[in-house]
C-alpha cells in the first residue's frame, strides 16, 4: 500500500522529487531511503528487462508454437 506521494518537478538541469507522507507514522528519513532504493531498484529492473526481452519473446514464441491453436 502506498505510504508516500511523490511530486516530480522537472526543471532542467535538475529533477526535484518532493515526498509527502500519506500517514503520520512515516518518518521523512525512512521515506527518503525507501524512495531512493525504489528508484535504483527500478533502474535495475529496466536494465534486466532490456537485456532479457529477446529471450522472453523467444520463450513465449516457443510456448505458443506448440499449442495446436495455430491455423485458425
Amino acid at each position: 500500500m502506498a505510504t508516500v506521494d511523490v511530486r516530480i518537478l522537472a526543471t532542467e538541469p535538475e529533477i526535484l522529487c518532493e515526498l509527502r507522507a500519506l500517514d503520520k507514522g512515516t518518518k521523512a528519513a525512512d521515506a527518503d531511503l525507501k524512495f531512493r532504493r525504489e528508484v535504483t531498484d527500478h533502474q535495475l529492473r529496466m536494465a534486466i528487462e532490456e537485456r532479457t526481452s529477446g529471450y522472453r519473446d523467444l520463450i513465449l514464441g516457443l510456448a505458443f508454437s506448440k499449442t495446436g491453436l495455430q491455423g485458425g
Partner: protein
C-alpha cells in the same frame, strides 16, 4: 612446485609457486552467463528480495546478490549461481536447456485457458429466508416468485453451457437460497444429463445452500444424481447466528444438523463449507477454526468480505480495514500451522491455492488469482432473469445497479455475442497482469490475479492503480507472509509443499 637441478652435486633448489585461485581451474569460471527473464521485489526490511523467473519459480536472495547477478558479475563459485541456474534464471556454456524447459512450463501453465469456461453458475432464485447483513447477493423475500428462474431461461442457459468447449462442465446452483427452487434444479440436472449423453463431457453438479430448508426430498435427489453440497459456516453458534439472522435465530443449529444429515446420505467428503469474515469474526479466528475442526472439516478458507451487494449497503465491507483482515488471516494461518505440528491434518485453502501457483507448474481454478482474469472464460453466471454475468461478483455488482459486466441475455444473445463482446474482451485484455503498470515489473505477478471486477468496483476501471489497490496490498502481504514462513522453518516449507500439491 618447480624443481631445478643446477648440477648433480648440488642439492636440489626448491622454488615454490603459489596456487592460483580455485576459479582458475574451473573451465566455466570466465564464461559469461546469459540472464533469462526474471524479476525481483523486496521481501522485507532486512535487505532480502524475492526473485522469480518467467514461470514463477522463486529464490530469496540478498540485495548484493541481486545486484551482482543483474550486472553479470556473479561468479560461478557463488552459492547462488547454481540455484539460479537450476531454476532457469540463467544459461551458460554448460547448458542452455532452460529455454526449452521454460517454454514447456509456460505452456503447461497456460494450457487450461484452451479448455475455456468450466464453471457455470445458475442463480435459480433470489429468494432467501435468511437476511444476512453482509450478503453479497442481494436477496428478495422468500414469497416473491418473480425472482425465480423460469424453465425457459434455464433451458436457454443450458444451450450456452454446452457451447463451452471445456471437457469438464460443473453446474453450480446458487441463490438466494437455491433449494427454495428445487423443482427447477431437478429440471436442469435432468436436462443437462440428457444432453450430455451425446456431448460426453465430465459433468458435475454443486448445490450452494445454507441447509436451513434442506429436506429428505432434496437429499435423496442429491444422492441419486451425485450432487455435491456447499454450505456457509461462519464459526461457532453465537457468531454464525449474529452474522446470519433468520426467523427462529437458529441458522447455526440448522446448518450443523444439515451438515450431519447431508454427510450421512451423500458421504463425508461431498459436503463443503465456506466462511465469511465480518468485523465480529476478527477476534475469533481460533474459535472459528476450532468449529471447523469440531465438525471434522479437513480445512477452512479464511476469506475476506467482497465490496459488493449488501456488504456495501450495510457498510459491512468498510467495517474493517485490509490490514485488520491480514492480522486475522495470519493469526489463523499460524494457528493452523501449529495444529499441523500437533498432528492435525488441516489445510487453509486460500494459502493452498496460492502455494499451488508458487510451488508447482500448475494453475488454480480460483477466479480471483487468474491472469488473464477468470471472468467469463473460467466461470460464468446465468442470473434468474436470463442476464449473463462475467462472474458471481459481476452479478453482485449488478444488484447494486452497475451493469458493466453484464455480457448479454440468454433469450437475446448468441454464444458468440456473449463471449466475443467488448463487455468481456476489453476488461480481459486491459487487466492482463503481465502487461499492466505496476504488475509487469512485479516479482509476484506469476502468482497473482487480475481481478478486473474488484478494481472496477473499488476504483472505477478494470486495471486500477496498484499502489492504491486493496487487492494488491492483500495479495502481496499474503505472498510475503507465505515465503517468510517457508524461509524460516523447513517444517513449514514441507507442510506448504504438501498443501500445494493437494489444492
Amino acid at each position: 612446485m618447480i624443481l631445478s637441478l643446477a648440477s648433480p652435486f648440488q642439492r636440489p633448489v626448491c622454488r615454490v609457486a603459489k596456487f592460483r585461485e580455485a576459479e582458475a581451474f574451473d573451465s566455466s569460471a570466465n564464461a559469461a552467463y546469459t540472464m533469462l527473464p526474471w524479476r525481483f521485489t523486496a521481501l522485507d526490511g532486512n535487505d532480502r528480495y524475492v526473485a522469480t523467473n518467467l514461470v514463477g519459480e522463486h529464490l530469496v536472495l540478498d540485495r548484493e546478490t541481486i545486484g551482482k547477478f543483474a550486472r553479470q558479475e556473479l561468479a560461478p563459485a557463488d552459492p547462488a549461481y547454481d540455484e539460479l541456474k537450476a531454476r532457469h534464471f540463467l544459461i551458460d556454456d554448460d547448458t542452455n536447456v532452460a529455454v526449452d524447459l521454460l517454454a514447456l512450463k509456460v505452456r503447461t501453465k497456460l494450457a487450461p485457458l484452451a479448455n475455456f469456461t468450466a464453471l457455470h453458475i445458475f442463480v435459480v432464485t433470489l429468494r432467501c429466508e435468511h437476511s444476512c447483513p453482509y450478503c453479497q447477493v442481494s436477496r428478495a423475500n422468500n414469497d416473491r416468485g418473480e425472482f425465480d428462474m423460469s424453465r425457459e431461461t434455464a433451458l436457454k442457459s443450458l444451450d450456452l453451457v454446452f457451447r463451452s468447449p471445456s471437457p469438464a462442465l460443473k453446474i453450480e446452483f446458487q441463490g438466494g437460497e437455491s433449494l427454495l427452487n428445487l423443482p427447477l434444479i431437478k429440471l436442469i440436472v435432468e436436462e443437462a444429463k440428457r444432453r450430455n449423453e451425446t456431448a460426453r463431457r465430465e459433468l458435475a453438479f454443486v448445490v450452494a445452500t445454507n441447509l436451513a430448508v434442506l429436506d429428505d426430498e432434496a437429499l435423496a435427489f442429491c444422492k441419486a444424481e451425485n450432487i455435491l453440497v456447499s454450505t456457509s459456516l461462519d464459526g461457532p453458534a453465537e457468531l454464525h447466528n449474529a452474522n446470519r439472522p433468520r426467523p427462529g435465530r437458529d441458522s447455526h443449529e440448522r446448518a450443523v444438523d444439515g451438515i450431519h444429515r447431508a454427510r450421512g446420505v451423500l458421504g463425508h467428503y461431498n459436503v463443503g463449507a465456506l466462511m465469511t469474515t465480518t468485523s465480529a469474526s476478527l477476534n475469533q479466528v481460533k474459535a472459528i477454526i476450532d468449529e471447523y475442526l469440531r465438525l471434522d472439516f479437513g480445512g477452512i478458507f479464511l476469506r475476506p468480505l467482497s465490496p459488493y451487494g449488501f456488504a456495501i449497503k450495510t457498510k459491512s465491507y468498510a467495517a474493517y480495514s485490509r490490514e485488520r483482515w491480514l492480522e486475522f488471516y495470519f493469526e489463523g494461518l499460524d494457528y493452523i500451522i501449529s495444529l499441523n505440528r500437533q498432528g492435525f491434518d488441516f489445510i487453509e485453502h486460500y494459502a493452498a491455492m496460492v502455494l499451488k501457483k508458487m510451488l508447482t507448474p500448475l494453475q488454480t481454478s480460483y477466479v480471483d488469482l487468474m491472469s488473464p482474469a477468470g471472468i467469463g472464460i473460467a466461470a460464468i453466471v446465468y442470473n434468474y432473469d436470463g442476464t449473463v454475468y462475467a462472474s458471481d461478483e459481476s452479478r453482485m455488482l449488478a444488484e447494486m445497479g452497475d451493469q458493466t459486466f453484464a455480457l448479454g441475455n440468454v433469450h437475446r444473445d448468441s454464444f458468440e455475442d456473449i463471449m466475443l463482446g467488448d463487455a468481456l474482451l476489453e476488461p480481459l485484455t486491459q487487466s492482463f497482469a503481465g502487461s499492466v503498470p505496476g504488475c509487469s515489473s512485479c516479482a509476484f505477478e506469476p502468482w497473482c490475479g487480475a481481478d478486473p471486477v474488484f478494481h472496477h468496483a473499488t476504483q472505477g476501471d478494470p486495471v486500477g492503480k496498484k499502489p492504491l489497490s486493496a487487492f494488491c496490498t492483500r495479495s502481496m502481504a499474503l505472498f510475503r507472509g507465505l515465503i517468510t514462513r517457508m524461509e524460516a522453518d523447513d517444517d513449514v516449507r514441507a507442510l506448504f509443499e504438501k498443501w500445494a500439491n493437494r489444492a
